[in-house]
């Protein structure tokens, strides 16, 4: 009972904060908050397949791209599309597709989820690391498709003038919903089954768990939220290009979930704030570096060098991340 009251209070407090922030914060702060909330959605769902189900995959950029493109195509009005598609005329189906904001992002999520279902058949037939490389390849393929089908995606030029329906109320609330759903999954029958697949697949099979099914559930759920996050991202940025969905995106999410602790959702939330804040703070590394009065010029990519070293060091010395695979509430529980 106490726990339910605590949860309701926490949820209400978050909602009030979201409303307050949207109406009172300046646009720079709001853009940072939006960024954090979108990455929280992506990282939370990524942690479900990587941390909770233990299936190491590298696909978020692919699913985010699918969600973003579906949402963008559904949101942009038909006459804007005709003006925008410069290389070839848009395919008739592209012109017909139209939806309101909420259905659009949900359709984006469902599309990503269906692709995840298709991918799960080849990759979960073999164990472990194949998933990693196939999903890595998948991220590249999505980009190749986006570039080579200009009638659907406007090719390398991407889509712009996407209606910016996604304000902090939408993004923040969906991030909150994602968090609640993830926590519920972890504490449900499915979550326990997923964890057993992660910890000992043979034992899980022996206990009668259909491991293929569990991995596929985790993969599809994760893909759904990544697609939704992609839709929010598209509407937030109002313009998308295939190059935005490179491996860099996946790499950022990987750092977040490793720092937070694989399998810990509250850890992921904290890590999202730290990493996104850190990215913003370390921006100076990519700009002109002036040392001892000498200008060393700009070095784009320097931040990523720092972050990859951070990732390696974390794996070598602090493999459990901030919270391990526990939730923050578990640390406040009275020891009995």
């Amino acid at each position: 009972m106490k726990k339910i009251i605590r949860n309701i209070v926490l949820i209400l407090a978050t909602l009030i904060f979201i409303l307050y922030a949207q109406n009172n914060f300046d646009s720079y702060t709001l853009s940072i908050l939006n960024n954090i909330a979108v990455f929280a959605i992506l990282a939370l769902s990524y942690n479900l397949i990587n941390g909770v189900a233990g299936q190491f995959s590298l696909e978020p950029n692919g699913f985010v791209a699918i969600g973003a493109y579906f949402t963008a195509i559904l949101l942009i009005p038909a006459d804007t599309k005709i003006d925008m598609f410069a290389l070839v005329d848009p395919a008739p189906i592209i012109l017909k597709m139209h939806a309101q904001f909420l259905p659009a992002i949900i359709i984006g999520g469902i599309a990503a989820s269906l692709v995840a279902l298709l991918l799960s058949f080849p990759v979960f037939r073999v164990r472990g690391d194949y998933l990693a490389i196939v999903t890595l390849g998948f991220g590249f393929i999505i980009r190749i498709f986006a570039i080579n089908n200009p009638a659907y995606t406007n090719g390398a030029m991407g889509l712009n003038d996407i209606p910016s329906n996604a304000n902090f109320i939408w993004i923040g609330t969906i991030a909150l919903i994602t968090f609640i759903v993830m926590i519920h999954i972890i504490n449900s029958k499915f979550g326990r089954a997923m964890k057993s697949v992660r910890d000992d697949e043979d034992a899980a099979t022996a206990m009668g768990i259909n491991t293929f099914k569990m991995k596929t559930y985790a993969f599809m759920t994760s893909a759904f939220f990544e697609g939704v996050g992609g839709g929010l991202l598209a509407s937030m940025l109002t313009t998308i290009t295939p190059d935005q969905f490179s491996f860099l995106l996946t790499f950022q999410l990987l750092i977040i979930i490793v720092l937070g602790g694989l399998g810990s959702m509250s850890g992921t939330l904290i890590a999202t704030i730290l990493v996104m804040g850190g990215m913003e703070w370390l921006r100076f590394l990519d700009e002109n570096i002036i040392l001892f009065g000498k200008d060393f010029g700009a070095h784009p990519g320097m931040r990523m060098v720092v972050f990859s070293i951070l990732l390696i060091i974390m794996m070598l010395f602090a493999r459990r991340g901030l919270l391990g695979d526990k939730e923050i509430f578990d640390y406040f529980k009275r020891k009995s």
């Binding site: 990759v123 164990r127 690391d129 194949y130 190749i144 080579n148 320097m302 390696i312 794996m315 070598l316």
Partner: protein
Amino acid sequence: MNLDIFLQQLVNGASLGSMYALIAIGYTMVYGVLRLINFAHGDIMMVGAFLTFFAMQSGIPFEAALIIGIAGAAIIGILTDKIAYKPLREAPKISLLITAIGISFFLENLFTVLFGSTPKAFKAPEYLTKIFHLGNIYLPISVIIIPTVTLLILAIVLWILYKTKYGMAIRALAFDIQTVKLMGIDADKIIMIVFIIGSSLAAIGGVFYAVSYPSIDPLMGIIVGLKAFAAAVLGGIGSVGGAVVGGFILGFTEIFVVAMFPELGGYKDAFAFFFLILVLLFKPTGIMGQDLERGRF
């Protein structure tokens, strides 16, 4: 397609396949001993090509520069193993994969920061790029030299694996690392040798790549590495012969599909991926592999 063009494409396919094969051998050998997809392998190839490029720029002749590139790549390979993989031998597989990605991303971005992301023109020596003609076929000499050298290297690798004591230790390691240690073999030393062989071959593959598409850039290792891995899986991961067969199949397919259906040219980087999916669906052990859980050479 007439016979001339067919033969021309056949030679091109063999040349491209050789590069995939050389890189795939490294994937397959490391997977054999560590059960790890070495994500950094494609980037080690890139390092080899870059070091060769810089050595040549400083006036060193191509042959010597190639050796510098190979040595550099081998050292990076050893360092990768010692720093990122060795401390995690007993850790869960997922940790190893994450450090491997970290190394891969580190190398890509470090080279971007140091040398910029614009492709650099790679000037191969003239005797490699000279065009000769047989009847109506016009080809650079490199497309003949590359497959020949590759087959020679394959013979050397197979000789090491099957005729030397170290090769025997490598094959033993692929079966059971614990037992091998109990037999008094220094497992870490053998793993180091595997990394030296794999990284050297990757560097050679990288230089061949640079000679054929005369430009290099810090991200060249990603897509080539991915394709080479697909080749290794296609041939049967863990099998060196399989890696070479897989590499050649992939090379021929890529060249011939693009030659016959030019409109598919934009998708040529996607073929390897479809191969990978098909193999995993219908024959996860690949053409020459036997049991994924017990890799063999």
